[in-house]
């Protein structure tokens, strides 16, 4: 039984005491009673040890990277180096206020300037804004930039953006948020964009095209050149969703092969911690002609030092964040890039690709894999064989993997593969854990035929058994009912 923090509360307990009041002005004299609340918020009352025990206990119920393989496809759950955590906690970072004078921020600004430069080089783009705080906000920023480009050119008829059917859900959602109409592009039998279909839907109203590369099937989109030609011929722009950039470091520069805009997920490729769902960071790189539209400020330098550059404010799309974005996340990515260098980054992608292909090679006789070719950093298998023969589906297999000490792959995505399981081991996983995962997948395939009931019941060994998420919707319970 897992009690909430509120149920551990005991009246009068304290987890923190402030110094005595040095300036004890009566509240009535400074804030009129009409603005003040009568009953104080019913936060729990606990000692520091109570609080520590509670949250440490909760922490034990999570799967996490140091515990075992976390093969969520397109999420890039690689190891998060500890030096990042130590360095960002320096006082000159965590105690810095955004409105300090620039001359007191030179170290931090230099780091941001360098990171802009390094990400530009890695992507082959002309300039990078670090401001977007998540991949989805990077997409939003990038699509806004595309809208601003067309607006500046008087292209008012450009109302639609083409998005493949294999895309992350954030892509179409972002287009809607910016006010574009979404046109879905079909994938072909090779798991790539269907060019005939593309030609049939592109017209003068096409503002842009969003493409994930490698795509969500883990395959490199080989026809970029033709796609770029088609889209650019109607003055459309091509956006790269950089969620899968971990496959391309030092191998391909997206800005050099036809992409005009892209976002990075620093929490994926550049190993900043995922934090249970954030904070992330989603910088956006653009080609030269789109630099004027990037958010303000960029970080620049002159003879006086580094500064926040608002120089292009008149053409800029504006701001997507109150201040400068998720600085503490940028810092970690900066440290990572500086420690790896060109050769290290290339090794990251090579090993990410090698590890994914290794698992695929080991499990391919046991699970159906639609696209029989070498993958990039991830691959998509499915449980269509097991479903047909044993009545076991992907959800069952995912839950059984939890029993065996692994996190499940990304499941039921991409939508174009029924019963999909998208596996991304990342480069940091050692051979023995790749083998252990492949062994578990194979064992599960055997269990499917020998004891399918076991699969329906899984998981058996986790902190809770299979969770009823239908009930969570039908009997909506979003907050604990505090009694007193």
């Amino acid at each position: 039984m897992s009690r909430t923090i509120f149920e551990h509360s005991s009246p009068g307990r304290k987890g923190c005491t402030l110094p005595p009041r040095e300036v004890d002005l009566p509240l009535d004299g400074i804030i009129p009673a009409e603005y003040r609340r009568e009953a104080i918020p019913r936060l729990p009352e606990l000692s520091e040890l109570d609080v520590m025990r509670h949250y440490i206990k909760l922490s034990h119920k999570n799967h996490f990277i140091e515990k075992g393989l976390y093969p969520l496809g397109s999420c890039t759950m690689k190891y998060n180096p500890k030096v990042h955590e130590a360095l960002v906690r320096y006082s000159c970072f965590n105690n810095v206020h955004p409105y300090q004078p620039e001359k007191t921020l030179q170290g931090s600004l230099e780091i941001l300037y360098e990171l802009q430069k390094d990400l530009s080089e890695i992507s082959g783009m002309a300039q990078v804004t670090l401001q977007p705080v998540a991949g989805a906000q990077g997409e939003f920023t990038g699509i806004k930039v595309i809208a601003a480009y067309h607006k500046a050119k008087g292209n008012t008829h450009k109302t639609k953006i083409i998005v493949p059917d294999s895309a992350h859900g954030t892509n179409p959602a972002t287009c809607s948020l910016v006010g574009f109409e979404v046109v879905e592009l079909k994938s072909n039998a090779q798991g790539r964009c269907d060019l005939d279909h593309l030609r049939s839907i592109v017209d003068d109203n096409t503002a842009g095209f969003m493409l994930t590369n490698p795509n969500t099937l883990g395959l490199f989109e080989t026809q970029i050149e033709e796609i770029a030609e088609i889209i650019h011929s109607v003055d459309g722009l091509i956006y790269m969703d950089g969620a899968n950039l971990n496959a391309l470091l030092g191998i391909v520069q997206p800005g050099k092969i036809g992409f005009d805009v892209m976002h990075f997920n620093l929490h994926k490729t550049f190993t900043t911690p995922h934090g249970g769902g954030g904070p992330g960071c989603g910088p956006v790189g653009v080609v030269e002609k789109l630099v004027p539209y990037l958010p303000v400020p960029l970080v620049n330098k002159n003879d006086d030092g580094y500064f926040f550059d608002y120089g292009h404010e008149a053409t800029s799309i504006g701001k997507v964040h109150t201040f400068y974005g998720n600085f503490a996340i940028m810092l970690r990515a900066y440290i990572y890039i500086k420690m790896l260098g060109a050769e290290g980054l290339r090794k990251v992608s090579e090993n990410a690709i090698l590890n994914a292909n290794y698992i695929m090679a080991r499990v391919k006789d046991h699970y159906h894999i639609q696209h029989q070719e070498y993958c990039m950093h991830e691959f998509v298998a499915d449980s269509s064989w097991q479903k047909k023969v044993n009545g076991v589906n992907t959800l069952d297999i995912a839950k059984r993997l939890l029993d065996k000490g692994f996190h499940a792959p990304t499941i039921y995505f991409p939508l174009i593969v029924p019963e999909a399981m998208m596996v991304e081991p990342t480069e940091t996983e050692p051979l023995e854990s790749l083998d252990a995962f492949a062994d578990a997948m194979i064992e599960i395939a055997q269990e499917c035929s020998q004891n399918p009931e076991l699969l329906h019941e899984a998981p058996l060994t986790t902190p809770v058994r299979r969770v009823d998420d239908v009930r969570a919707v039908k009997m909506l319970d979003p907050i604990f009912k505090i009694e007193k």
């Binding site: 004890d24 400074i30 949250y55 515990k67 759950m77 990251v348």
Partner: protein, 462 residues
Amino acid sequence: MPYISNTGTERQAMLKKIGVSSFEELIAAIPPKMRMSSPLKLDEPLSELEITRKIKSQTCGDLCTSTANAFLGAGVYDHFIPAAVDTIVSRPEFFTAYTPYQAEVSQGTLQFIYEYQTMICELTGMEIANASMYDGASAIAEAILMAVRKNRLTKAILPATLHPEYVKVIRIYTEGLGIELLTAPMKDGLTDLEALKAMMDETVGSVVLQNPNFFGNIEAGEAIGQIAHSNPKTLFIVAADPISLAILKAPAAYGADIAVGEGQALGNSMYMGGPLFGYFSTKIDLARQMPGRIVGGTLDIEGKRAYALTLQAREQHIRREKATSNICSNQSLCTLAATVYMALMGREGLVEVATQSAQKAHYLASEIRKLTGFELAYPNAPFFREFVVNTPVPAAQIVEKLLPRAIYPGVDMARFAKEFTESQTGTFAVPGEKQLMIAVTEKKCKADLDALVSALREVTHV
């Protein structure tokens, strides 16, 4: 150091198992002309020792707020954070996990979010909260979009007393969607009630209020709520400082339909303004229009209490272009810090934080106004922990002169002069070059406050 475990020998064995003789065969699908012909142009790699040395030397000239006597606020606040907060947030169990897609091995994350949602609702008086937005600014923007989804009315009124940086973010989120943003003017540092009343009609979809407002002043929430609801369809969106809510009225108590705000002050370090996190809470009957992830209590198949992501049919991974928002990852770890912070401070502790901050701010204001040439910019407006003073000389000069003494006296309001003239219409005094906005938290001791007063006296004394 690329943090790769496998050795060359192991990699060879793996290639062999795959059935290729070299790595190049694995990427044969990438057309050769698309591949880089030379290595990336990056600095030579550094060891852990070298990067530590580099970071130290890069930042050695910077003056942070822990060594300076700082009074900077304007959206990010330096409240005390107990050490235990970072101990929990640093647990790899929390910070290396991802969005709790597999509930059975994510109960730790799911439960703390459920507790966080409860605490936020306790502060705001609301009935449901999400697992966070990116910052206060985008939380307000998402609230405006939610109001449009609910009532299909595309006119939103923003107060002139709203943070000018929030206005920029709100504008970028709402433009292109046919949403019209109007500005309710301000009078004496507060929203002009009469003017707001005159702007209300049946086409207004939402009225936004920041409380305490950008200038630190406490707005007449009750009266503004009534004006907003003069159109029964209008949703009243309140962006409240969460620390202030320990002692100030909950937004729901004065009619808010959606309560949002910047959450950083709850246990999160300033980090030059990021990460921040936006909290987002509302009434239960609006739940299906909410953006973002929500955790709900439920049971497992054995009837044991458990938690899961819920109402996911609103979200982008299911609804794609018809989703309520494009948000995917959020600011979960920041909300963990906020949850642990609120648990440690507890009922009395958070009240004490708010009370001491207010007391010290008012003491400082009363001392500064005694100085020759200084006066409160809005002497009749009640304020919480931040206030604006008119200065006898340009604030920039004061900031400059106090720098060698390691004092950050506040935010020079000239920084926002352009935003206020450009983006916010209405007849009110534009913040001038002779204005300083001063924030005080419980971390300041009386000696710090007195030191600022003396320094202000000395540097403005002719």
